[in-house]
């Protein structure tokens, strides 16, 4: 996650990564990644 976001994930991102069912897709669609 840190590689994708270029920083450490925050608590909501880490929580979502585990709970979403598809953490990688979630991070790719996240606002943090969209801003990268």
């Amino acid at each position: 996650m840190a590689t994708l976001l270029n920083r450490q994930p925050n608590a909501t991102e880490s929580d979502g990564f585990l709970k979403s069912g598809d953490g990688l897709a979630l991070i790719l669609a996240s606002p943090a990644f969209q801003r990268c």
Binding site: T12, E13, D15, G16, K19, S20, G21, D22, A25, L26, A29, S30, P31, A32, Q34, R35
Partner: protein
Amino acid sequence: MEIAANLSTDRDAKQTLVVIFLRGAADGLTLVAPVEDDNYHRYRPRLAVKKSEAVPLDGSFGLHPNLRPLEAAWKEGDLAIVHAAGGESDSRSHFEAQDLMEHGGIAAGGWLGRYLRAKGPSQSPLGAVALAPTLPDVLSGAPSAAAFLSLDEFGYGKRGGTAFDQQLQRLYELESDEMRHAATNTFEAIRRIESIDRHGSAENGATYDEKDDFARGLRQVAQLIKADVGLDAASVDVGGWDSHFTQKTLIEPLMDRLGSGLAAFRQDLGSRMQSVTVVVMTEFGRTVQENSAFGTDHGRGSAMFVLGGGVQGGRIHGAWQGLQSLEKRGSSESYGDLPVLNNYRDILAPVLLRHGLDAAQLGRVFPSFTFNPLPLYTA
């Protein structure tokens, strides 16, 4: 803190413009045949639409019988036709002519994209769509536009599910800027699209040919309009109109699809057609005289259709000077072009004014053009 999606729920406030481009240079003299003109039958002994078979329009012209599904729209005053329509380019190259017409002249971006810019940023991620694998030039420069072949492509995909949706929305709720605003509208648009019964029956007894990608495209545009996702403009193409050889075999099935698709769309939308305009256009027309291969070659003027609410339908608009005194075209075997007497911008101008532009904005959509708009609407 919750942020509300502001996709309009006011049906009357939302107008949608649907642009259908007939790629390949459709023969306007077959779509809308001047059946009462003796020269038409003289120049086209094998290809002319017979007067007895045409769908009568105004005493001079008749629709090709395969366009009969549009007869009701004509009779009910919802369909206007402009003949001898086209652009100023004489290149006769499909690529060049489509490029010029989609850009609205020599200008950056497509004219539909500039129209959407002039209207201001859309609140919806589905403010403009193209039912196509890639965005057509006409939508180039639009503030936001999506190209897809099926509404099934717009959503969370296979990853969609309550947990995924919830977590994604939670991430965007932490944002405080335009990204949160855009995401909120996107989530709402997805919710509205997912609420559509995409494989259910159309309304008002309309029937689309599900095997026809044009009809499926129109059906999906109608679904987006009915779902109130904030659709301002849509682009749908029908290709294959380049009929140098065996024209009848090539374009009669296309006219079938065009006529039945448009009629189903109009029927499906019912009273909502009052806020929808469909424009049908092509890059140029074809030679008046048929060639030796049972076809026609690249010409100039063709026909344009304007279908929708408020249009002064049931009549042929614009200038028309008949098919007399055609000159031989260089060393070509073909006699004459239908001259362009009605510039496509003068047909689009009243449509764009109806769809919310003012005169100054219109000048930015079609720069360096002196307008002489056709009176397609009552003042």
